[in-house]
């Protein structure tokens, strides 16, 4: 087959109601569906999941609690919260806001659908409330993790677990920060 022939065919696509037209249409619709799914999960960087996080920052941003609440609502999507799903441990008083060690553990057997797909860590009074997302799988033996974060002022740290079967759980911990980080 000649290349020029092939491209010539591609040039004038006016999709009529034929077998080929239907095939092309279904292909495009399926692609659209995949991208929209990714957007809903926040993988690509959804419309307002992150405050300018997808762009390089060149100006100062002040914390906005309304925006933080909107992010949390966007994660929950009106689902009911399950009790005792996730436990978050953090220090009561953090002397240095630059390094605040936190750890969380999700009590679940990591078999079948009983594992957390995503665990979000949020600090409400930071200019960028979203701090990290962790994507687990069945192979990771237990959803038990420790990390160090930055906090600008004393506020609540929130950990939200989204399970694979669709249930959601959260835990909050108030941390007192004496010297804040400029994050």
């Amino acid at each position: 087959m000649k290349k020029s022939n092939y491209f010539g065919k591609l040039k004038n696509i006016n999709i009529p109601l034929t077998r080929r037209g239907l095939l092309v249409g279904t292909l495009f619709y399926s692609l659209f569906g995949i991208t929209s799914k990714l957007y809903s999960k926040g993988e690509v960087g959804g419309p307002f999941r992150d405050r300018f996080q997808s762009f390089r920052q060149t100006f100062r941003v002040e914390p906005n609690p309304e925006e933080a609440r909107r992010i949390i609502n966007n994660i929950f999507k009106g689902r009911k919260r399950r009790d005792n799903l996730i436990t978050l441990v953090a220090p009561d008083i953090a002397e240095n806001g630059n390094v605040v060690p936190i750890n969380f553990s999700v009590n679940c057997s990591m078999n079948g659908e009983d594992y957390p797909e995503v665990v979000h860590i949020l600090v409400l009074d930071n200019p960028f409330p979203e701090i990290a997302k962790f994507f687990f799988s069945n192979e990771s033996g237990s959803a038990d993790l420790a990390i160090r974060i930055r906090m600008r002022q004393s506020s609540e740290v929130i950990a939200i677990a989204e399970m694979a079967d669709g249930t959601v759980g959260e835990d909050r911990f108030f941390v007192d920060v004496t010297i804040g980080a400029c994050s």
Binding site: D50, Q53, R56, Q57, T58, F59, R60, V61, N98, V99, V100, M110, I121, V123, N126, P127, F128, P129, E130, I131, A132, K133, F134, F135, F136, S137, E139, S140, G141, S142, D144, L145, A146, I147, R148, I149, R150, A181, C182, S183
Partner: protein, 131 residues
């Protein structure tokens, strides 16, 4: 970008039993510039420069992944757990804002109760092939 932004550390046990849950400690030496800090003299904002994502693979299969934003502290330390069924290669990959990736590897040897190592490849014996 200074040389120190490329130093990575990975601590994992060398041996483990079958089905054991092992803890892995990772640390990346990185400035993690949040993109909010100003130069005190000129007032210019330092541009954001952070580690964006961390990917963990065991025997080439991705088992854990994380997305980080500017709220993670500098020289980010993270410890997590994985379950090992057979010995293999553990890879942790850190990817920058500028899509520069660095990685660190370590090998975990997994033994059963009798002390035999469980290899990730299972060779078929000749007798099995005949069936």
């Amino acid at each position: 970008m200074a040389r120190k932004n490329y130093r990575r550390r990975l601590k994992a046990p060398i041996t483990a039993k079958k089905g054991e849950i092992i803890t892995i400690k990772t640390m990346a030496e990185h400035t993690m510039e949040p993109g909010v800090r100003r130069d005190p003299e000129t007032g210019l904002v330092y541009p954001r420069f952070i580690i964006d994502s961390v990917i963990v693979r065991y025997n080439g299969k991705q088992i854990f992944r994380s997305r980080w934003y500017s709220g993670v502290s500098e020289n980010p330390y993270m410890s997590f757990k994985i379950k090992v069924e057979e010995s293999g290669l553990l890879e942790v990959e850190w990817i920058d804002d500028y899509k520069q990736s660095t990685f660190k590897r370590s090998v975990v040897n997994v033994y059963d109760d009798e002390g035999n190592e469980i290899f990730p490849l299972r060779f078929n014996k000749a007798s099995q092939l005949e069936d």
